[in-house]
Symmetry: C2
Subunit: 260 residues, 2 copies
């Protein structure tokens, strides 16, 4: 059964998409069958994998709204063993679409979990890239997930939002998904030359202890260049500092979470 990991942080630009796409690539390269769900209407994970969103006739929206099964939405990517449920702009309409349905409490938050159930057995790992908010799409990701991976940019503003995020995770654990675990907190865009980055890293490690991933992702230009070539970093620049760090993170999580 594929383990589902949601990559979540409402703070914008902290490396959620870069982490989801990079991990998906490295896990697929290790032979793990991977499904990546692009749950962000911006669709960065989709374009980061070279998918032309204008050419798509269906996306994750259709599976959440119940128009299609998730299997009908899933597309292959340039990476062997890595499948994607892409996002288009339609996805931005899902909150309004689901809000109009008269259903019981928790129904809207479970759409993704329900859509995912028939395909979970086809994959070893399922990753969800969430948008920068704690709205319905992110709640769907947390309800569908076995664990949450939190990228934390080593910046002052990024620390601020963590308690709000943890409160939301606890709310979901209590009310909607008791099995939700914290898979890890990964430091991103780390520049060891700056005091600020070292201070934030120390605070995160102090607060999260063993749940702070050993692998730390440095700021590295190759990571921001890769999406313009539509390739994950394990293909675009595996030996770059950014590539090696995500390779280490993939190995660390595969072992800790038993992803095969």
């Amino acid at each position: 059964m594929g383990r589902v990991t949601a990559v979540v942080n409402q703070k914008g630009g902290v490396g959620k998409t870069t982490t989801a796409v990079s991990l998906a690539g490295f896990l697929a390269a290790r032979g793990v069958p991977v499904l990546l769900l692009d749950a962000d209407p911006q669709g960065n994970a989709s374009s980061g994998l070279g998918i032309d969103r204008r050419a798509l006739s269906a996306c994750l929206y259709d599976a959440l709204a119940g128009n299609l099964s998730l299997r009908e939405v899933i597309v292959p990517t340039k990476v062997d063993g890595l499948h994607l449920a892409p996002a288009t702009l339609n996805l931005a309409g899902v909150e309004v679409e689901l809000a109009t349905r008269q259903e019981g409490p928790g129904w809207r938050e479970r759409r993704l979990s329900e859509a995912l159930a028939p395909v979970r057995g086809d994959y070893g790992a399922i990753l969800i890239d969430a948008p920068p908010s704690l709205g319905l799409l992110t709640l769907n990701a947390l309800v569908a997930a076995d664990g949450v991976l939190i990228p934390v940019q080593t910046e002052y503003y990024a620390l601020e939002g963590l308690s709000q995020l943890l409160n939301t995770v606890q709310f979901v654990q209590r009310r909607l998904n008791p099995r939700l675990d914290l898979d890890g907190v990964v430091l991103t865009m780390y520049d060891p030359r700056t005091n600020l980055a070292r201070q934030v890293a120390a605070e995160v490690r102090g607060f999260f202890g063993a749940r702070a991933c050993t692998a730390v992702i440095p700021r590295n230009i190759r990571l921001s260049e890769a999406p313009s070539f539509g390739e994950p970093v394990h293909q675009f620049a595996p030996d770059s500092a950014g590539g090696r760090a995500y390779g280490e993170l993939a190995a660390e999580l595969a072992e800790r979470l038993g992803l095969e």
Copy 2:
């Protein structure tokens, strides 16, 4: 009458808050009475100005929900001439709160514009820091605004979202706020040493022409350190590369928009 500028981009982490807070500081230092509205539930603009959000008894949410007038929510800051309507976590609840009210079309999107009307005359410039989404809070900012300022990080993913953002601006101009203008597009976190940054900058200038601001904001550690001291950059590090660039931007916009 204070000109209202909304700082908007649904892409996360592109420098919306840093731009709103830095501009607000420099404009106040030039003698323009400034009001900054923190319309992001993350509340980064509030903490970037040294406000302890836990100590607040009211915030922008109360003005949008109609519990208080905006005047009752506004607080002074450490900067002379700079006032703030702060955000707390309550603000995340505004979409649900307003959605439950049975009102006509466009009513929800005009809450901020209506709340702002009685105080607009007290300020020379009013800036709105928007969250990383195109949801109700951002729509409120666009409906209340005379112009929109778009920070664009010089990265691949940041280019992707621009057409979606411009579509939303056009929608608002046609249906909700015909006076909404494009005040400018400002390049942020620019590192001239990288090809990617130069390519993105060239594309943005090619597309926006004269509306691309002359001032370009470089990547500069002082800008990310300033919020941890609760000070805008004109106080924290006015002579830094980031400080000087935002000073130039403030001068350019004050002249172009006639902010006094």
